[in-house]
């Protein structure tokens, strides 16, 4: 049972009546008896909450930043008109709006209420419960009850690096030789024979074909297709740190999505591994273009774990996952202690069988700190930042000496830098 503001207003009116009444005591009693009587009648006449039935419809997933319009259907199986005020409660990060609804549902009819979600975080969101307050015809008081109507909305990674996709694909076409800039594309895989054009490298002339055709022909090459790319996401404690206002992991997901989109278009197989102390996610490689949606869906549930990443375990998982020679892109943080103790010892087995790219995110805040000269505290902070940068630099050198490609880019160019590295390796035929 619940009372409404009207009851309170009525009581307030009662105060005025009592003040002005010639017989205040009697009036007081009378006013309250009337009040209780009206409330009791209203509650008795209110439509029951239990026979209401709820159903939902709408999308089950959306990229972060897009609204999710959900429709909640209320049907009244009871015998009286239900004048309801209801709250469709979602977790705060689902961003459900409006908070409450009002509806008047006659018996046997159905009404549709629209709740729009504006999710603020990745992952699955489920409604908590529907609380219904059914008021009586006077609007003084009513009954309250609850219903449960399950649903699930998955917040997918925003993939904000999509805007880099056209440029990356243009570069891919250039690499593949579909755009005639220098005639044939780069690469090492034999594609076809074509007529010699002045300017072609004479070493590319195919003498056997020339003899057969009577005209000079050259061999054209194209980049290798059907290569393997393994995206490895480190979901350990370093991935929880926020760069800008976004965790490192989300930046990494964004970059991995762009890489996946481009690599799929290039005809490569992409597989995905997420690992901290234990494997969190393993998505075996695929060609088909629906794979990008699968990757996106699988990424939705990834959260940083507050544990130290086990790089030995990561390498083992990758070795088990990728049997053929692959490009292993490791999205991790260049934290000296972690890399030196975890990754470096396990690296030789990995580099022996695969090409390894370490993609690290550079925090612009550190550069900002390193440039701080406002007062002496800022200079101390600058010294600390300088030290971090130097260590990072040393670590990058160490990794490069061991044959690992290192990407170290700030957030706004991170995804593009990773994809560029991939395209460069592809054009050099090093996949």
């Amino acid at each position: 049972m619940a009372i409404s503001g009207r009851t309170v207003a009525l009581a307030l009116f009662g105060v005025a009546v009592v003040v002005l009444s010639p017989a205040p005591g009697l009036t007081l009693a009378l006013v309250n008896v009337v009040l209780v009587g009206l409330v009791a009648v209203d509650v008795a006449l209110a439509g029951a909450v239990r026979p209401l039935e709820f159903g939902r419809s709408g999308p089950t997933s959306a990229r972060l930043g897009q609204p999710v319009p959900l429709v909640l259907a209320v049907s009244n199986g009871g015998g009286r008109v239900a004048r309801v005020r209801l709250r469709d409660a979602w977790p705060p990060s689902a961003g459900a709006r409006p908070r409450t609804h009002r509806a008047r549902v006659p018996p046997g009819e159905r009404r549709f209420l629209e709740t729009t979600l504006y999710p603020t975080r990745r992952g699955d969101r489920e409604p908590f419960r529907i609380t219904v307050r059914s008021l009586g015809p006077l609007g003084l008081a009513g009954r309250q009850g609850r219903h449960h109507c399950p649903w699930r909305v998955r917040g997918l990674p925003p993939f904000s690096s999509r805007r880099h996709l056209p440029a990356a694909l243009a570069r891919l076409r250039e690499v593949e030789g579909e755009v005639s800039i220098r005639g044939a594309g780069a690469g090492s895989e034999f594609d076809s024979l074509r007529d010699y054009v002045i300017g072609d490298d004479v070493r590319l002339i195919d003498w056997r074909g020339t003899a057969r055709r009577g005209a000079v022909v050259v061999r054209a090459f194209r980049p290798e297709r059907d290569r393997r790319v393994v995206c490895v996401l480190d979901t350990g404690r370093t991935s929880a740190g926020r760069v800008g206002d976004t965790p490192r992991l989300d930046h990494a997901l964004d970059a991995a999505l762009l890489l996946t989109a481009v690599a799929l278009r290039a005809g490569d197989r992409v597989s995905l591994v997420a690992h901290d102390s234990v494997p969190r996610l393993r998505l075996p490689g695929s060609h088909d273009h629906a794979f990008l949606a699968r990757v996106s869906d699988a990424m939705a549930g990834l959260e940083p774990a507050i544990v130290e990443a086990d790089h030995g375990g990561i390498v083992t998982t990758v070795l088990r996952e990728a049997s053929r020679r692959s490009l292993v892109v490791l999205f991790t943080e260049l934290a000296p202690a972690v890399i030196e103790e975890g990754l470096l010892p396990a690296l030789p087995t990995l580099t022996a069988r695969h090409n390894v790219v370490v993609a690290a995110l550079r925090d612009p805040r550190i550069d900002e700190l390193a440039a701080g000269r406002d007062d002496v505290r800022a200079v101390y902070a600058a010294a600390a930042a300088e030290q971090t940068l130097l260590r990072r630099r040393a670590l990058t050198e160490t990794l490069r000496r061991r044959g690992v490609e290192v990407v170290d880019a700030p957030p706004d160019g991170y995804a593009a830098a990773v994809t560029d590295t991939y395209l460069t390796l592809k054009s050099l035929g090093r996949l």
Partner: protein, 480 residues
């Protein structure tokens, strides 16, 4: 409606081309609300001011006031008859039986306390006249003279005396119609004063009661004093004095002695028998209404307290900035005053940047606890030479700026552990920069941790100067 349609057929159709100028509809509505609220507040303020500054009738029945509700006319008439009229706010000191008899007119007798009323009564017994205007129950109880307020107002409103009081019969009909009415109390305890009730319909309810002590003679001879209870002071005002027999009655009651005190007791006497607290003044309905207000508050609490379902719990992600460890380390340096370490780091960073600008190879040493102070970095000799050439500054100056204590003595700086240690020992022993104060070696500076937020000392200022000098060098090299 579209702009294109309007442009092609400007005169066709009733479509208005007028553009709305100024604030949008919600803004107007909000503005109207603000104006309405302000208006209500202003009106409320004016009402309060009006009520507060309203004449409280303080000069009503004032013998100096010539306004309709003043009593100046009466005072002037009395003075013309040779009576000394004086106004007072307190009862005049009562000297005893020997003083001359006089008339005391007390307005608002409820403001007097019990002792003052008893004193007035004793003056009556000594021959003075006391006129109490509109005395209430409290005053009558305190006097205890066998008179009480009548329960019912008198039915006769004609202002006819209906009694044998000579002054009343002389005056005849008066305007003494409103105000309080008195009657005889059913008590026989104090029957030592004879009571005469006039006007209204005595004895059930009379507007005028005159009590005369039952004594054979007053001290000093002459007329005996009397206590007059006047139900209303209306007939004494300037406005009504000339109506009917008002003046005759007033003179008859007040002009019996040669002195007259017109007493208006001050209102702040809290021990007056007639004074009532604020709660007493409230109507009975208000006190009962307080109970209804409690009911209201309970209902209000029930209304606001019943929520539409509980808040929803949700596990929240960790929120930690990635640069937090770096910032924390910077603060630790600041607290520990680790100036030499900070200077080393700044120099190492500057060396790497300058080497990159100059195109010199940068060797990276083992990244470890040794950190940037280790032998990692560009070749010192070629770096200093290159920078000196680019900036035109002396190599020794640049050497001391970049390497702390001039050039390292090693001719072939190898990254071996011995060179490393030697380097460290030398940077520790020597002042890192000529700017450092000679007395403060870096080892001593880095010793005791300083107070947080302490005023930066000279050494701190030197660190800042070093950082700025390195920036300066960086700019000079980069500017080419």
């Amino acid at each position: 409606m579209s702009a294109a349609g309007v442009r092609t057929a400007p005169a066709a159709g009733p479509t208005s081309t007028a553009l709305r100028v100024g604030p949008g509809r919600p803004a107007v509505r909000r503005g109207a609300w603000v104006v309405a609220v302000l208006g209500v507040l202003v009106v409320l303020l004016l009402v309060i001011l009006g009520v507060a500054s309203r004449s409280t009738g303080s000069d009503a029945l004032d013998i100096r006031a010539a306004r309709p509700d003043g009593a100046r006319a009466l005072a002037e008439i009395l003075r013309a008859r040779g009576i000394a009229v004086s106004a007072a706010q307190t009862l005049p000191a009562h000297a005893g039986a020997g003083e001359p008899r006089r008339t005391l007119v007390v307005l608002e007798p409820g403001r007097l306390n019990h002792d003052e009323l008893t004193d007035l009564l004793s003056q009556v017994w000594q021959g003075s006249d006391v006129v109490l205007v509109a005395a209430g129950d409290a005053v009558l109880d305190a006097l205890d003279v066998g008179v009480r307020l009548s329960d019912d107002p008198p039915s006769a409103q004609d202002g006819v005396p209906r009694c044998a009081l000579p002054e009343a019969t002389t005056a005849g009909s008066t305007t003494l119609r409103g105000g309080r009415a008195y009657t005889r109390a059913e008590t026989d305890r104090r029957a030592d004063m004879s009571l005469l009730l006039c006007y209204g319909n005595p004895p059930a309810a009379a507007r005028l009661a005159v009590l005369t002590p039952d004594v054979a003679a007053v001290p000093g001879g002459g007329q005996s004093g009397r206590l007059v209870l006047l139900g209303s002071a209306g007939l004494l005002t300037n406005q009504e004095l000339d109506q009917d027999g008002n003046a005759a009655l007033a003179l008859g009651l007040l002009a019996r002695h040669s002195g007259l005190s017109w007493i208006t007791p001050v209102a702040d006497a809290s021990d007056g028998v007639g004074s009532r607290s604020l709660v007493d003044l409230l109507p009975a309905g208000v006190r009962v209404a307080c109970l209804q207000v409690i009911v209201l508050l309970v209902l209000l609490a029930l209304w606001r307290g019943r929520r539409l379902g509980p808040p929803v719990a949700e596990p929240l992600p960790v929120v930690v900035r990635a640069a937090e460890t770096v910032e924390g380390r910077g603060r630790l340096y600041a607290v520990a005053r680790a100036r030499d370490r900070a200077a080393d780091a700044l120099r190492a960073g500057a060396r790497v940047r300058l080497a990159e600008r100059s195109g010199l190879p940068v060797r990276s040493g083992p990244a470890g606890p040794a950190g940037p102070a280790g032998p990692a970095g560009p070749d010192p000799i070629s770096l200093v030479a290159s920078v000196a050439e680019r900036t035109g500054r002396s190599p020794s100056e640049i050497g001391s700026l970049l390497y702390g204590s001039g050039m390292p003595p090693r001719s072939h700086p190898g990254p071996g552990p011995v060179g490393h240690i030697v380097d460290q020992v030398q940077t520790r022993d020597l002042p890192p920069s000529p700017k450092w104060p000679s007395g403060a070696s870096p080892g001593a500076l880095a010793g005791p941790p300083g107070r947080r937020g302490a005023k930066p000392g000279r050494a701190d200022a030197d660190l800042l100067a070093l950082a700025l000098a390195l920036d300066d060098l960086d700019r000079q090299v980069g500017g080419r």
